[in-house]
């Protein structure tokens, strides 16, 4: 049965095969995005000793569906004197890079849509494009608040991108490759081989920059509701507004997935090399303990949970404090650690660089 499915799949034209694979990635991703909004409201609810959404469906499980239906049936209002074409293309520009970046994410050994050898550069380039959706939305809305939000957010994203890029340079130095799959394979061995240990400061910098890049709390001054109402998307309604949210959550999942891949060994099991090989041959538990796509999803879910936890815990940073953290703390830390890393790689300090 399985062979027959694979055979008929490979007999399809290449374009059809690629489209099928894209659907396999994007459809679960959109579902994950919808349920991340639900998880966010539930998690923050429990942190604040509330129940969270609990009316639509059993335990509120259908809440995201209800939200989607509500937003779909609302009218999309285009403000007078707004630039109509740019106003409506801004949400598309926000979500397109967030989805396109998933093309180079490996879910398991070899399970990747496009196994390109400049994967990490491609990711860096695409994550830097998301800012266009925000900046164009702010300008095309013809609204002061939207423009201010867009300017704040653009300055913030450009600033944190430098620290993020430097952190990725560290990963490239350690792995010796730009291919995301090979970066994960370079961490093979045991939990001590993961890049978390030799690159610990870079991991912190990367994740903090990731939170700042996605404009999430505590760095969400771009939408600071007490100061500029909602920032760049203040004039948007209905589905155009929802697409910005889809983009934000898709970006959160992307940053979580990248953190898991680059520093936490992606699909590699934390028990690899610690438990004897015979354990992995056990019927069900062995499969679970062995490396596989489930470990990648678990790690991604953990970092996604951190995003929600941060939002419920930290007060919002002030704008000049955000800039100071990015330029005067994170960038010097990365540059210093690149020197340390250079020495480590040169002296072949094991087990990572031996």
């Amino acid at each position: 049965m399985f062979d027959w499915i694979m055979e008929s799949f490979y007999s399809l034209p290449v374009v059809m095969q690629i489209l099928f694979k894209i659907t396999l990635i994007v459809a679960p991703l959109m579902l994950a995005v919808a349920y991340t909004t639900y998880a966010e409201r539930k998690v923050i609810g429990y942190i604040q000793v509330r129940i969270g959404p609990n009316r639509v469906g059993p335990r509120g499980w259908l809440q995201p569906i209800a939200d989607a239906v509500k937003l779909l049936t609302k009218e999309v209002i285009v403000p007078t004197n707004a630039n109509r074409f740019l106003f409506l293309s801004a949400p598309v520009l926000a979500i397109a890079p967030a989805l396109a970046a998933w093309a180079v994410i490996p879910f398991d050994d070899g399970m990747v849509l496009a196994d390109i050898n400049a994967g990490l550069l491609y990711l860096l380039a695409l994550t830097s494009l998301g800012v266009y959706g925000i900046i164009i939305a702010g300008w095309a809305s013809n609204s002061k608040y939207a423009l201010l939000g867009a300017l704040r957010s653009a300055a913030q994203i450009v600033s944190y991108e430098i620290a993020m890029g430097f952190a990725l340079v560290g990963v490239i130095m350690a792995a010796g490759s730009l291919n995301v799959g090979e970066i994960v394979l370079a961490q093979q061995g045991s939990i001590y081989h993961w890049f978390l240990l030799p690159l610990f400061p870079l991991f912190l910098v990367y994740f903090i920059s990731g939170v700042a890049e996605t404009n999430r709390a505590p760095f969400d001054v771009a939408e600071g509701e007490s100061e500029i109402v909602a920032g760049f998307h203040v004039e948007y309604s209905g589905m155009a507004f929802a697409v910005f949210f889809l983009a934000e959550y898709a970006n959160m999942i992307l940053i979580s997935a990248l953190t898991a891949l680059l520093f936490f060994g992606g699909w590699l099991s934390p028990f690899e090399g610690l438990l004897p090989e015979s354990v992995f041959a056990w019927p069900v538990l062995g499969w679970f303990l062995d490396s596989g796509v489930h470990w990648f999803l678990l790690k991604t879910a953990f970092f996604l949970f951190l995003f929600l936890w941060f939002r419920a815990t930290f007060p919002r940073y002030r704008y000049d404090q955000i800039m100071r953290l990015g330029w005067k703390v994170l960038i010097p830390v990365t540059i210093l650690w690149l020197f340390v890393l250079g020495v480590l790689v040169f002296l072949k300090v094991g087990p990572w660089f031996a």
């Binding site: 400049a118 380039a125 900046i135 000049d320």
Partner: protein
């Protein structure tokens, strides 16, 4: 006509169209966005030439950073189009001379290189990033380092030119703020809670 060639002409047409639109549209923000489109088309053409490092870095640096800051500035500017067009007639002859000079130089340069054989296709294991790194850090290491130093000087110069101390602003230094300890801000005063008011206080 191969598929590569069709793609090349499509992206070439987009590149030329976007470049023309960039210099001809009136709205400066639209002009900046057309420049972004031109960069994308150029990156696509580089990808077709198997120069994926250059293509991605063009998008990363120019589209992802430089043009964002450009848009940032252009959106903040309140450009008066009528004033911009003032003196167009007087400056036209000078502009035409400059344009003619540029066109001549460009034609001279381009005609020297334009007749070129189609480069050989590299194998599937060819990595543009590695190939570039290999010659950049061996054969061209001195020009590369000189370029790096020039860039560093430019960065420092730009910061030095724009940084000025303004004593009249009420700027708060976040670094000093977060270093504040409790004893800098809070002073506990022990007050006697006796109901009687002393003789001295009454006299005041």
């Amino acid at each position: 006509m191969t598929f590569d060639l069709i793609l090349f002409y499509i992206f070439g047409a987009i590149l030329l169209g976007a470049a023309l639109a960039m210099i001809s549209v009136r709205n400066p923000v639209h002009a900046a966005l057309f420049l972004v489109l031109a960069f994308f088309a150029a990156a696509a053409i580089w990808l077709l030439a198997e120069a994926e490092f250059l293509a991605i870095v063009l998008v990363l640096v120019y589209v992802g950073a430089v043009m964002v800051l450009f848009l940032f500035v252009v959106m903040m500017l309140d450009i008066n189009l009528a004033r911009l067009r003032e003196g167009f007639a007087e400056l036209l002859p000078a502009g035409l001379v400059v344009a003619a000079a540029m066109a001549t130089v460009l034609t001279l340069v381009i005609t020297r290189f334009i007749v070129m054989d189609v480069p050989e296709r590299a194998g599937a294991d060819y990595a543009n990033t590695e190939a570039l790194g290999a010659i950049l850090y061996t054969e061209y290491v001195y020009p590369f380092e000189i370029a790096a130093v020039i860039l560093l000087v430019a960065i420092i110069a730009a910061i030095a030119l724009t940084m000025r101390r303004r004593p009249d602003t009420k700027y708060i230094d976040p670094a000093r703020q977060i270093r504040v300890r409790r004893q800098d801000r809070v002073r506990l005063v022990s007050m006697p809670s006796s109901p009687e008011v002393s003789e001295k206080d009454r006299s005041e």
